[in-house]
Symmetry: C2
Subunit: 346 residues, 2 copies
DNA sequence: TTGGGGACCGAAAACGTTTTCAGGAACGTA
DNA sequence: TACGTTCCTGAAAACGTTTTCGGTCCCCAA
């Protein structure tokens, strides 16, 4: 277990091959070797060929540190997230990584764990590494303090910056809420209730606002007479549903503020022998696959398009690096995922 | 939305401050400035003070690219994961990031998405960036092809390398399986069944092996007469439980191969009005918090200590970078999480 | 007064690239 | 033959550090 051992082929400490080696093997100067490999036009086709072959033969790989030093572009960006643990950072991060990966930029991942001093520490490190830009991914969709003026462009994702001069990308919770309710209405539901999470989250209030808005347009009242704010948990979903059924047994659809809550809702509806979606339709929020797709029945839900948000953040960052800095808040539209927990009332 | 706008204070294009500026302000040479800031002894206390003050005043931050160029250490490592999406990579990644973050090393995150050519592409990029080492995080706990001889040390995490000369860190599935069954036995259970996932996963077979082993020690037979291999899904948990109850109604404990499966098991037990844990105890695997902690009742489970695995990977990589390269396979012990789905039979 | 030695400092080389610019070769034209 | 072009190549500077090594200054003992 972990036995120290010299690497297998204990070669004479093979210096990493440099451009000089390539040039030498190709019989040209370092300058032309560089130009040949970078596709500069002012080099004869035959010499370029020679150089390329030499580079391949030595399996040369240019030292990006050196390149970055002179071009003043490191080809790296920082991804500063406040909680890796949370399920929201990950898709954003995937989208961003994907968008960058197809370019030549590499991504530094930093997790501040919601700690401010850790964030500043990582920030220092990233700037010291001369990243070309950075994306700040928040933990919850409420505004966060701006990092202020930095020598590189910054994009805020998920949590918007509190400074309107920064560029922030956020999900559309109002739109999502109204989209969920719209879906239920289209399926003929009239007695629609809303159970959601912690009211201190802007996301909870926004989704509720969107839902109420859509109901009002239709001239409908909220079943259960109130928005059931509580916690982002399955247990709250169960508890609220019991109370709701007691207060208003005529409910025929429940919009849950998260898939977790929706799971709790489903659980109690089963206990009460209320058929889903025959008797009561249920729609969740987040499209957290493990919860939504495996529910019984599989859960219709609103997808916030987080991966797209991540990709867009990457694109906006590129633009900013190229000088097109933007500002303000851009909103990503959500997407309805229909599964079997919602169906037309017949 | 995204209106291009020059940055607020349109300062005269503020060149990033370099060591030369610090030296100049402090009235010393670049050399002494460097030595002063790096805590080299051969510099008078008063001059060091001057330099430090100048550096602060200009908020100097050393260019790590330049440093890396000459010290031949970039202070970066690559984290090459095959699927970010999967829930197993994340905790490992968190552990590693944490361990590195407390050091001065930054982490390049690369997601190969299970694609081989993407993996090679990222590998090239990382080597070009002169990372000091890298950690390869697999998607499933079966062996994966070695990356072969690289100019930097490599640690394989979760998925071991198929080359025994590499150093791999893996979870202990056999131990986990036996730990789960042991827990059930200690609670007086005698009719223990095992429902698990896809038999092509080494993890499934290993956990089953550990479970059977422990049963054999106790002279017990498996309830249901077989290991119920199937899929890593809630649906399979439900289906298998129904079959199991039909075949052997005397079962008093179920060891599920994953928390997802366990959720399905719980669901059917509730439908059948079999009290958990009064009548049947249930234990899961993975300690996937969202599923386990929110189950009804909260689910006892086996935690694979993935975060610790990530941290250990970071430590081993450090050691390797410092010349202490290891080889072979190191196993991380699992941990029992007891919640309310298991209890003594009375 | 001289010499030795310690403490401190700075000039310069080095890391591996890119880019500028001067110049050589080859060629066509007057 | 002389000259202007065009095409290609290479010397050298630059990027921002670290590190080596020789040098200066000062102090103290002989």
């Amino acid at each position: 277990m972990g036995v120290p051992s010299g690497s297998d082929g204990d070669q004479p400490p093979t210096r990493t091959v440099t451009l000089r080696d390539v040039a030498q093997l190709a019989g040209v100067s370092i300058a032309t070797a560089s130009k040949a490999l970078n596709g500069q036009p002012q080099v004869r086709a035959t010499t370029r060929e020679k150089v390329v072959r030499a580079a391949e033969q030595l399996s040369f790989s240019p030292n990006t540190l050196a390149q970055g030093l002179i071009t003043q572009r490191s080809g790296t960006v920082g991804l500063l997230t406040s909680d890796l643990e949370g399920r929201f950072s990950i898709p954003i991060l995937m989208g961003a990584e994907d968008a960058f990966g197809s370019d030549q930029t590499s991504v530094f991942l930093c997790d501040a764990r919601g700690d401010n001093v850790r964030e500043r520490h990582h920030l220092r490190a990233l700037l010291s590494r001369r990243v070309d830009g950075l994306i700040v991914v928040g933990a919850r969709p409420d505004a966060r303090p701006s990092l202020g003026d930095l020598p590189v462009p910054v994009i805020y994702a998920y949590s918007p910056s509190d400074d309107p001069n920064d560029l922030s990308l956020v999900t559309d919770n109002v739109g999502g809420g109204s989209m969920a309710v719209d879906h239920l209405i289209r399926h003929g539901r009239r007695r629609i209730a809303h159970i959601t999470g912690d009211a201190t989250y802007g996301a909870a209030r926004d989704r509720a606002a969107g839902a109420l808005d859509r109901l009002r347009q239709e001239g409908l009242a909220l079943a259960g007479d109130q928005v059931w704010y509580g916690a982002w948990s399955e247990a709250w979903g169960r508890g609220a549903t019991r109370m709701l059924l007691q207060r208003d047994p005529t409910v025929d659809a429940i919009f849950a503020g998260s898939d977790e809550i929706a799971r709790g809702v489903l659980d109690v509806l089963h206990q009460e022998d209320l058929d889903v979606p025959g008797r009561v339709a249920v729609i969740g929020f987040d499209n957290w696959n493990i919860l939504a797709a495996n529910a019984r029945p599989p859960l219709s839900t609103i997808d916030m398009n987080l991966e797209q948000l991540g990709r867009l953040a990457a694109q906006r960052l590129f633009a900013a690096i190229d000088g097109n800095v933007g500002s303000g808040t851009e909103t990503i539209p959500p997407r309805l995922i229909t599964r079997e927990s919602t169906a037309p009332l017949d």
